[in-house]
């Protein structure tokens, strides 16, 4: 199996996430109006396909990593497991005790929380070994540009979907888009300051 470059990996994940987002916004509402249980089930499971592809890409990336990268992946996944485990325990006990009502739809948040915790945990560990958010390898775009682009795309989606989405979904899109833009702006400032200080990329 050939090793994917960072650029190849990122483009594949970006396309899969784009397909997932487009399906959730445009086709997901059909699930509720589907006539048969079989049709409902099939339509409900379609978004799982790009997610499984992203997981497969992540596994391939970890497999092709060197020893230090594998260590950071391991720590990141350990942190993600701990976070999701604790949250599910807390939610489960509170639900059993009748303190709060938790329905099955909360399960949809398990994967995003897992990925977010894994990403943050891995970033923190990589930092302790000299890696940084603004340090780019052979990425297709600088990191700040990717966040700015993602923020712009999400806000555009929110704008064009404003009449067909409910308030909660619209709120999530506006919030996510704004957050991506803000984070991209912060990274852009960090990137610009590193450039203006003339910091050596290579540590030479």
């Amino acid at each position: 199996m050939t090793k994917l470059s960072q650029k190849q990996y990122e483009w594949r994940v970006l396309i899969a996430m784009g397909m997932y987002t487009a399906y959730m916004l445009l086709a997901w509402p059909l699930v509720r109006v589907a006539s048969s249980v079989a049709a409902k089930g099939m339509l409900a499971l379609v978004p799982v396909v790009p997610m499984i592809y992203v997981i497969a890409m992540l596994a391939r990336r970890i497999r092709a990593s060197d020893e230090l990268e594998r260590y950071t992946h391991l720590i990141g996944l350990g942190i993600a497991t701990a976070v999701v485990g604790v949250l599910s325990l807390v939610g489960g006990f509170l639900s059993i005790a009748g303190v709060m009502k938790v329905d099955g739809s909360v399960l949809i948040w398990v994967f995003p929380v897992l990925m977010l915790s894994y990403g943050l945990g891995r970033w923190r560990v990589a930092r302790s070994y000299g890696g940084s958010l603004s340090c780019e390898s052979d990425s297709a775009l600088p990191k700040y540009a990717r966040f700015l682009l993602a923020g712009a795309v999400v806000l555009l989606l929110a704008w064009f979907s404003r009449s067909s989405l409910d308030d909660m979904r619209l709120g999530v899109l506006w919030g996510a888009g704004g957050s991506f833009l803000a984070f991209g702006a912060v990274l852009g400032v960090v990137h610009w300051r590193r450039g203006s200080r003339g910091g050596a990329r290579d540590g030479d």
């Binding site: 230090l68 990268e69 000299g130 340090c135 540590g203």
Partner: protein, 65 residues
């Protein structure tokens, strides 16, 4: 562990990216080794020694020695 990887690399005019490619590791790993933040595994340390043509104990020295 202390090491002289950076010095050996500079003598040969290689960048961190060059060395990373020769050893089939990431540039971040090379940087972490050179700055003393990460001690390589035995196989990687032997690979580094073979690349520079030196005994492993001339490249990696326990701290304090």
């Amino acid at each position: 562990m202390n090491n002289v990887v950076r010095e050996l690399r500079s003598e040969r005019g290689w960048s961190q990216a060059d060395l990373a490619q020769k050893l089939d590791v990431s540039r971040q790993t090379i940087n972490a080794i050179e700055t003393g933040k990460y001690d390589p595994s035995l196989p990687l340390a032997f690979k580094i020694a073979r690349l520079f043509g030196l005994p492993i104990e001339m490249i990696f020295v326990p701290e304090g020695e």
